[in-house]
């Protein structure tokens, strides 16, 4: 279904960009990816719900923005 691999190096780079002094444990970036996945999951669910409420078959940006506001 989805991609199998989590972008571990990319994740580390992002965190390094934001917090250069912060270090990551060995497999901590996987947990970061996990939390990221869960976040996307919640966002997508909320956007879907809002799109349903607007009787739209497509998720539109407005739905997404509203969804992000909720979360």
């Amino acid at each position: 279904r989805m991609k199998r691999l989590a972008p571990r190096s990319t994740l580390r780079k992002i965190i390094k960009k934001h917090k250069p002094e912060l270090r990551l444990a060995a497999n901590a970036d996987l947990l970061v990816h996990l939390s990221f996945l869960l976040f996307l999951h919640r966002l997508a669910e909320e956007a879907r719900t809002i799109a349903f409420e607007n009787k739209s078959k497509i998720i539109k940006p407005e739905h997404t923005i509203a969804a992000a506001k909720v979360i």
């Binding site: 444990a25 497509i58 992000a68």
Partner: protein, 728 residues
């Protein structure tokens, strides 16, 4: 003459000497009995036996001795015996036999016997009440008599010791001691043993015994006696390891008691050890007392929106940060972070403190000066407690606050703190909101946005727009291409008048051709950074207009408008990303940004100019999440077709999410005193997000979302061969 009469008196004398001290019965009937034939002696002894409470054995021994000695005893002892018998008829039974034994065993011991007799008589006279004692002493006497044949000195010593004992025992008897205890004491028959018993047996009654014994003496001696007692106790401690603990503790307590009473400082120090939490709470109470007094009017509106605990935290943060601003800005932020950690970690901790603080606020605030020294001294011991390490840092700052407050003019401080409290309060609130995604934050932020909007309406809009325009022009066309459209959209979405104004201003100044959104995305990232710089630049002018009293407060005030303005501008400038969740959400990551860029404001001011030309420079700084990855994940979860624009929103959201994530992780890690993010930190993060609960452990989530190879890495898996993967 004694020699001649030795035979007679020797037998009875030792018997009398031995028997009387314990028995108090120089047998008056003895001579009579001895004179008389055996039957008479036996008869004479019978009443004695009957009268003697405990001495059957001795009585028998006496009876045995009587027939042995026979006639020898009769003449010389009569006088003594009669006297003794008259005075102490009870113990006559023992004396004949004992006397006989003595005569047999200790024949040469006339001199010791004679004085013993007298002494024994005296003791007998004194101890009319204690037959049992004498019995036991007779036993003791008999034993040493039996064992050492020549130990007259030994017996003498024993008797002497017994005499000493008997005197003290008499005292105790006078003091209404039970005979049992006295027996105990008698049996030991050593001063050390006595002290032993005193200390070990039961500390309270022996103490009372000693105290009773000491009653006669002036009370001053008590200290000395206590010390001597303690010295004896120490000796006993060496002897008896088993009970040493009790003795140690009690002696220590005893030792401490006088020292404490004597030394006020020691009392203080002792109390400090106990009062650590109280003092800290008191300090916090002072702070909380300060804060409510000062910032009630200003922050009431904001406070109403936030829970009480959060408010207390904010107050603490405010005061803490106020002090730190005096020392250094970074500290405040760390304190905020720490407080946020505290908030994250356990609200209960603070909430428990807060009511206490409030209670003690009034009392302690007045006495801020005296506790300063203990608070200072508290700092060091305060730091020692690991559990409270985090809250202790708070206390240290609190104590510093108190010091500063006491040192400097309180009014000025209070005024400053009021301002700082406000602004830092907002910041703290926003910090919290970041972590918790609470709806409150949105309200607050909308509030702040409104406030900012109102402020903008006052006339700062022009300055900002002017700055923006300048910056925009300097930056170039490419970046703001998509902005006008998005700005309008954003304006509609947000519905803020000022924003519309801004968007109009910007769009008017920077209208350009339309570009593909993808490029705009990249540029929007650049835009964001520049926008921050712009906002900061523009905002720098604001605090001066705000009229902050101190440069520090100005900085603080700069902060709050900074990120709020960032929130306002972010939707405008980050348009290509299709407006991530609105101003409230945008402002959430802002607090983190202002801190860093704040210090580097001036370099940032210079940067936008070269930045505009070098677009390539930014790319290596911004690692992008694979967009297709995000798209795929989102589509999978949404189960519906997703518009490209919506996907941009998702992209922006994810970026901001990562920023928040990194902030939170850093906060957690710092709170744990570590420099490396660990699994526990991440689990805590997810727990706070509500992803991990008691019902939903993290391992379940791992299994749900991760492929096998990742699961193996994260969860120890046991495989055949008694191996666990990953091996620890």
């Amino acid at each position: 003459m004694h020699c001649a009469a030795r035979a007679a008196p020797e037998l009875p004398a030792p018997a009398c000497a031995a028997a009387p001290p314990p028995l108090q019965a120089p047998p008056p009937p003895c001579p009579a009995s001895r004179r008389a034939p055996r039957a008479k002696s036996l008869e004479g002894l019978r009443p004695l036996t009957a009268m003697a409470a405990s001495g059957t054995r001795l009585v028998r021994a006496a009876r045995e001795n009587v027939p042995k000695s026979g006639n020898k005893k009769n003449s010389g002892r009569s006088a003594f015996l009669k006297q003794k018998a008259a005075v102490f008829p009870e113990h006559d039974n023992d004396t004949p036999r004992v006397m006989l034994r003595r005569i047999i065993l200790t024949q040469p011991q006339v001199s010791p016997v004679a004085p013993q007799l007298y002494k024994d008589e005296e003791t007998e006279a004194a101890q009319s009440e204690l037959p049992s004692k004498r019995v036991s002493s007779v036993l003791d006497m008999q034993l040493p008599d039996l064992v050492p044949e020549d130990t007259s000195v030994a017996t003498f010593r024993m008797t002497k010791k017994r005499k000493k004992l008997s005197i003290s025992e008499f005292e105790r008897a006078v003091d209404k001691r039970l005979p049992q205890n006295q027996d105990r004491s008698m049996l030991d028959s050593t001063a050390l043993a006595r002290s032993l018993r005193m200390s070990l047996g039961s500390l309270i009654p022996p103490d009372t015994v000693e105290k009773r014994g000491l009653r006669r003496r002036p009370k001053i001696r008590k200290a000395i006696d206590m010390k001597a007692f303690e010295g004896g106790v120490e000796q006993n401690m060496l002897k008896r390891k088993a009970q040493s603990c009790l003795v140690d503790s009690q002696t220590a307590s005893e030792i401490q008691a006088p020292s404490l009473t004597s030394d006020a400082e020691i009392v203080l120090s002792n109390t400090e050890l106990f009062i650590h939490p109280q003092f800290d709470e008191q300090n916090q109470n002072k702070l909380s007392a300060l804060e409510p007094q000062l910032s009630d009017s200003k922050t009431s509106a904001q406070r109403s929106k936030i829970s009480d605990a959060a408010q207390e935290e904010a107050r603490l943060v405010g005061l803490v940060s106020s002090v730190d601003t005096n020392e250094g800005r970074t500290q405040t932020h760390s304190e905020e972070l720490i407080l946020n950690h505290e908030h994250f970690g356990g609200m209960t901790h603070v909430s428990c403190k807060t009511p206490v603080k409030q209670q003690e606020a009034a009392n302690r605030w007045s006495s801020s000066l005296p506790p300063r020294s203990p608070s200072k001294s508290l700092e060091s011991p305060v730091t020692l407690k690991p559990k409270r390490s985090f809250s202790m840092s708070l206390r240290e700052v609190v104590s510093r606050i108190i010091e500063d407050l006491d040192v400097s003019d309180t009014e000025e401080e209070m005024a400053n703190t009021a301002n700082k409290v406000e602004q830092i309060f907002r910041e703290a609130a926003e910090h919290r909101a970041n972590a918790g995604y609470s709806g409150h934050l949105e309200k607050q932020l909308t509030e702040k946005a409104e406030l900012q909007i109102t402020m903008a309406q006052d006339g700062k809009v022009k300055t900002e727009t002017a700055a923006l325009e300048e910056e925009g022009i300097a930056e170039g066309d490419v970046e703001h291409q998509g902005s006008p459209e998005a700005e309008q959209e954003i304006a509609k979405d947000v519905g803020a008048a000022s924003l519309v104004r801004h968007s109009d201003a910007i769009s008017s100044s920077e209208k350009n051709g339309v570009k593909p959104l993808e490029e705009a995305v990249e540029q929007a990232d650049e835009l964001e950074d520049q926008a921050i710089a712009l906002e900061l630049d523009g905002l720098e002018e604001e605090p001066t207009e705000d009229g902050a009293e101190d440069p520090e407060s100005a900085e603080v005030s700069m902060r709050t408008p900074t990120f709020v303005r960032a929130a306002a501008y972010k939707p405008l400038l980050s348009t290509p990303h299709h407006v991530k969740p609105a101003a409230p959400k945008l402002s959430a990551p802002r607090p983190a940004k202002p801190v860093a860029p704040k210090s580097s404001l001036q370099p940032l001011q210079a940067k936008p100019v070269p930045k505009s030309s070098g677009t390539s420079r930014r790319k290596p700084r911004e690692p992008e999440i694979a967009s297709r990855l995000i798209k795929g994940i989102f589509r999978h979860y949404a189960k519906m077709p997703v518009a490209r624009d919506a996907f941009k929103v998702v992209e922006k959201c994810s970026e901001r999410y990562f920023k928040q994530l990194s902030n939170d992780l850093e906060a957690y890690t710092r709170h744990a005193g570590r420099r490396t993010v660990e699994m526990a930190d991440l689990e805590l993060l997810m727990r706070r997000q509500g992803l991990v609960t008691d019902k939903m452990p993290i391992n379940v989530l791992i299994e749900d979302y991760f492929p096998m190879e990742y699961r193996k890495l994260l969860i120890p898996v046991a495989v055949c061969g008694n191996k666990v993967i990953p091996s620890k």
